[in-house]
Symmetry: C2
Subunit: 353 residues, 2 copies
């Protein structure tokens, strides 16, 4: 028997044996008095779509397709369209999920849906993912991006899932530095003359002039490397001059990148430019010698703490990182402090539900 639902505020109530059929057996809605349940619009739309219920208060309830069509065209809140697509997709993959709201859940996470572990329902008390849902064109503030999962629905209604987590930023790379090495500040880089070989070979600062062979004791350093080295007394160069030059060529971004560079070096991680991957840094957690350099593990993009992401840019970064077997990390720098600002690290990886 096909049940009927009726709107009651922003939920759809279904009576009959709805509790047993939809809630207890398949995790839809929350129980009311007796056998009645209340469904969120997205849940009602899904049951409609599957032909399990027929909503009565639509213009044309004479066919199931029309009922669903009318329901879809109604106004159920700004993100209803993309939320329905994600709900239906995860259901079709065998997951149970609930709106992340009371009374569906006792302590709902700050997200669109709570997704339960495969084979579990809401009553098992365990949540696999707090899932945020956005459309491809929705701006996503960095402050809203939190540990959990993110579903992005593209313009053609395909869905990409991401896991958002805290990365491990630590390493045991060599860190001892020389002192007072001769260096020249050029337009947007620094030349280091006759440094000890270890500066490049062991601590991986700079780039030997002309190709990879270390045949002449001349290194070119980036302004970031030079700022860090001069602050630590390794170069005969005024750190303030380097900092000023960095701000001239990059603006505020230089301070944010230097904060991240400094934090990485302090954690025993070696940052080198991520330019070839379109990122700020690629990082090596354990550099003992450049000759035995392993694969870099992370790609890091630096943003101000209040940065607003476009989902498309996230897709591009995470896809590229995945393709080169690295993890994409966003370093969000609270720019109220200068080079010592607070950094929030977020790792994003693709998730295949």
């Amino acid at each position: 028997m096909t049940l009927e639902g009726r709107f009651d505020g922003d939920v759809v109530r279904v009576a009959g044996d709805a509790r047993q059929r939809f809630h207890d057996a398949r995790g839809y809605g929350y129980p009311l008095e007796g056998n009645e349940i209340a469904l969120a619009p997205v849940e009602a739309a899904h049951l409609l779509y599957r032909g399990d219920i027929a909503v009565v208060d639509t213009r044309s309830a004479d066919s199931r397709t029309l009922a669903f069509r009318d329901f879809l065209a109604g106004d159920h809140g700004p993100d209803f369209g993309v939320q329905f697509l994600v709900y239906a997709d995860l259901r079709s993959r065998g997951f149970y999920l609930s709106p992340a709201r009371e009374p569906w859940l006792e302590s709902p996470p700050d997200a669109a849906f709570a997704v339960f572990p495969r084979g579990s329902g809401p009553s098992d008390g365990e949540i696999e993912y707090a899932l945020q849902v956005v459309g491809e064109r929705t701006d996503l503030s960095a402050t809203d991006l939190q540990a959990g999962a993110l579903a992005v629905v593209d313009e053609e209604s395909e869905i990409t899932y991401f896991e958002v987590s805290s990365p491990d930023i630590s390493g045991d790379s060599a860190s001892s530095l020389p002192t007072g090495i001769d260096a020249d500040l050029l337009e947007d880089r620094v030349v280091v003359w006759n440094p000890p070989e270890t500066l490049y070979e062991r601590t991986f600062y700079g780039q030997p002039l002309e190709g990879r062979e270390y045949d002449r004791p001349t290194l070119q350093c980036s302004l970031l490397e030079a700022a860090h080295l001069s602050r630590n007394g390794a170069l005969e160069l005024d750190p303030e001059r380097v900092l000023e030059r960095g701000r001239t060529v990059e603006g505020d971004r230089f301070d944010r990148r230097l904060a991240v560079y400094t934090a990485l070096r302090a954690a025993g991680v070696v940052p080198k430019t991520g330019y070839k991957f379109g990122a700020d840094f690629r990082t090596y957690a354990s550099v003992e010698s450049v000759d035995e350099l392993g694969h870099s593990e992370l790609l890091i993009r630096v943003h101000p703490a209040d940065h607003v992401f476009e989902p498309r840019d996230i897709a591009l970064d995470v896809r590229l990182a995945h393709g080169v077997r690295k993890t994409m990390v966003f370093a969000l720098v609270d720019s109220t402090g200068q080079a010592g600002g607070t950094i929030n690290w977020l790792a994003l990886t693709r998730l295949t539900p």
Copy 2:
């Protein structure tokens, strides 16, 4: 015998047997009277670096290293630093190259350097690449990006080379359309009800609702697809309403993307969203059936004709495209026209000299 050079305006003149040693045998400079030659600063810097000449008019000419160091720190124009790095890199790879200026060349291309085919020099009259050179932080106007090659020097002095060319935009995909199919315009997508199976299966419009299986005759189309379909009478939907909605959610970008979408379809190429690759479109040149869909060939990013690139974004796009075995194409739309604007297509690929 080590020769000495002397500045004469913006060239360095070298006498002695310079013509034979440097110009005739190794392609440096251009010949003056007798055996004298004139060198561009970048050529002089390279011969200095190699110890082949010693420049006299530096502060401290008592050691070769110092002479080179002083030369490098001098003012030789805004891009001297990055141009020197590229010049030295290509020389170390066995290429001859000249400044793209008279009188080094008779009809110099509009670029920094003319690179000759490996094993050839300037006198052989053939140019392999007209090479533009920019630093990672240099803005690059789309109007300056032309067929040839591009070298980008990153902040750590590593160099990436790109080839810029005209892509082949043509295909033979199925194109016949139905007429007057029922459709609803939702918030930022269109639902197409009961279309003929060929609309998705053969011409690859839309995305079946809920997963890939085509078990229900309901398609979701992007606003671009719907604009194109409604303009061609395939949907019962006012094309102007779709266009308006597109502009509401995307602004001017919608018109540019529609111009590119339309041009691709007209060329027999099927564009689908490139969202997962951070691009506007991925394209298929020969779609006969979605069941036998091959690999998409191009990733297309749409920009206004006066767009200014950051080299880092180019690196990211080209790297990603390369990683997924597609070719990165920029579609530059002259926005003086609307949906029918002129499109300039540029393909960028990595080049390993």
